[in-house]
């Protein structure tokens, strides 16, 4: 799902973006202004608009009026994000066929439940983009970066080359020549392209590709590194030609996060995506989502094998403080696939900031386990056999006793679509509890 957030309050946009990205795995861009929102909507396809009502210059009602009068955008799903409770305002909204209403203050669990409950689907337009979205950088699939900034080319290649070969060109003309000589699956188009502008470059790249598919990614400037608001020049009318875009940054951690979308995934995530491509759009940060649910839920410790029909299995493994190797496996029953709306795949442990976030969450879950199971039980070890992380097992495996005690637990309160196995390997003494 590709979402446009329109709210004049920057902290609120930041919170919303986090919920969309981390809880739902949706992509989003943001604007603080209704006028700019309309401009962006006219230039790029979005699957959903999250719209504040009270904004300077052009408020939410004005945006809605324009959208509903537009042949192109009249059916765009719009969810209002506001703290407005006045009856007359709510009644007025019903005239605009809004898909939903999120009341501020925003809370992740509630927002995620409401948005997934809408049953939105990516627009048909994204069918083509969906195909190219699987085209990634890998050791066997080089990518091409076209950018006039020498520093950025160096930075980009040094950061990205661990995932696959990166060819670089300093101008649009040079990049086009390289592409014609040796086509690649993914082309990153940056700035300072020389005499040939971005629009013509993209057109010529597609012409040169012919029947071959190519994923063209705009590497665009960030107006504010913190907020990740993409600067969009009024004269830039080539957005519709992009298959994707990434934030232009010199921060390695930020780059890793941005670039993760263009890297070929391995392991259970990729295996599942290949087997069940329909889950791809909805997949993303389930481990964090599951942990988020767990943190708010009572946990019940279940000793021994947790016998359930397992459909999905994802594992993250993180070293903490060079003292502990923590491996968390999330298993979801087949029934749970529907129950959690298909969002069920966790990020790889190497996915930059997200891994750090997961580390925090693992940390918290470990604390929870202490409380529920006691130190003796948690002083246990080892990750699952490597092969298991790539399989879809029928049930949780029993680990040999010498590998340590394993805790399997599930949530209570009727919300138990998953099981989690958490194993902590103590890398050095002293014992965990002190």
């Amino acid at each position: 799902m590709n979402v446009l957030i329109c709210d004049n309050d920057a902290p609120t946009r930041f919170v919303l973006k986090r919920i969309l990205t981390q809880t739902l795995g949706w992509s989003s861009v943001e604007t603080g202004d209704g006028v700019e929102a309309l401009d962006m909507l006219s230039n790029k396809r979005f699957d959903l608009l999250l719209l504040d009502l009270e904004m300077p210059q052009c408020d939410g009602f004005e945006v809605l009026e324009v959208l509903r009068a537009s042949a192109k955008l009249r059916d765009l799903p719009v969810v209002i994000v506001s703290q407005e409770r006045r009856r007359e305002v709510i009644v007025r909204l019903t005239e605009y066929n809004v898909a939903g209403y999120l009341l501020k203050p925003l809370r992740a669990e509630h927002v995620a439940a409401r948005l997934t409950g809408l049953g939105l689907k990516a627009t048909a337009h994204y069918g083509v983009r969906g195909e190219v979205s699987e085209m990634c950088v890998s050791p066997d699939h080089p990518a091409l970066l076209i950018d006039g900034n020498l520093d950025f080319r160096h930075f980009f290649t040094s950061e990205a080359e661990r995932f696959g070969p990166i060819r670089a060109a300093e101008s649009a003309a040079a990049g086009l020549a390289q592409f014609r000589a040796s086509p690649v699956d993914v082309v990153f188009v940056g700035t300072k392209l020389g005499i040939m502008g971005a629009e013509m470059l993209v057109r010529k790249l597609r012409d040169a590709a012919g029947e071959r598919r190519v994923r063209v990614v705009s590497v665009i400037e960030s107006a504010n590194g913190n907020v990740q608001t993409f600067a969009r020049r009024a004269e830039d009318r080539v957005h519709a030609a992009w298959d994707d875009e990434m934030n232009r940054t010199f921060l390695p951690s930020e780059f890793a996060k941005e670039f993760a979308r263009f890297v070929q995934k391995t392991g259970p995530v990729a295996a599942l995506a290949k087997a069940l491509p329909e889950f791809r759009l909805a997949s993303a940060s389930a481990v964090e989502q599951v942990f988020g649910m767990m943190l708010n839920a009572e946990v019940e410790t279940v000793h021994g094998a947790f016998d359930m029909s397992v459909a999905i299995h994802s594992t993250i493994a993180i070293d903490i403080d060079e003292r502990f190797h923590v491996s968390v496996s999330v298993y979801l029953s087949e029934a749970a696939v529907d129950e959690v709306n298909g969002v069920l795949i966790g990020p790889d442990a190497s996915s930059g900031d997200r891994a750090a976030t997961s580390s925090e969450l693992v940390n918290l879950v470990a604390g929870r386990l202490h409380a529920h199971a006691g130190d003796k039980s948690v002083r246990s070890v080892c990750s699952l056999p490597e092969t298991m992380t790539h399989d879809v097992p029928d049930q949780l495996p029993d680990l040999p006793p010498e590998q340590g005690h394993t805790l399997h637990f599930r949530t209570t309160g009727g919300r138990a679509p998953f099981a989690v196995a958490l194993k902590i390997e103590l890398l050095e003494q002293p014992a965990l509890a002190s």
Binding site: P11, Q22, Q83, N226, T357, L364, H370, A371, A433
Partner: protein
């Protein structure tokens, strides 16, 4: 437990709730603090200007914005105060200027406490398993 990273939160916001809502993501919380530090003073400045101009419509709009913004960090008292000003102004009544002063102070308190608290949070690179 996780309280190891909750360092003496002030009463201007609910630190535990913020910590849980954002999954203990120290990086995110610090960025959020930076954003609040940028936006809230602007709202306050707008509010003071509107109060001086006796522009109740503008006061209602700004109070509404403040209420929405600080709700993200569970600043209940400040949100309530902004709500009172918003309702009064929406009804076309003059807002007591002392309430505007209270609002200004409450924003100041929130920012100082929230920023300080955010800085004390342990970042992911320093995350440690909790021990009892």
């Amino acid at each position: 437990m996780m309280s190891a990273t909750l360092k003496s939160p002030g009463p201007a916001f609910d630190a535990s709730a913020v910590f849980l809502e954002f999954g203990g993501d120290a990086v995110f919380i610090r960025r959020l603090a930076a954003l609040l530090s940028s936006s809230l003073p602007v709202y306050v400045s707008d509010m003071l200007a509107a109060a001086r101009a006796r522009d109740v419509h503008r006061m209602a709009t700004v109070a509404h914005a403040i209420r929405g913004s600080v709700g993200n960090v569970y600043a209940h008292q400040l949100a309530a105060l902004a709500g009172v000003i918003e309702r009064t102004a929406r009804n076309g009544r003059a807002v007591d200027l002392s309430q505007v002063s209270d609002l200004e102070k409450a924003v100041r308190d929130l920012l100082s406490e929230f920023v300080l608290w955010a800085e004390t949070l342990e970042g992911p690179e320093r995350a440690r398993p909790n021990s009892r």
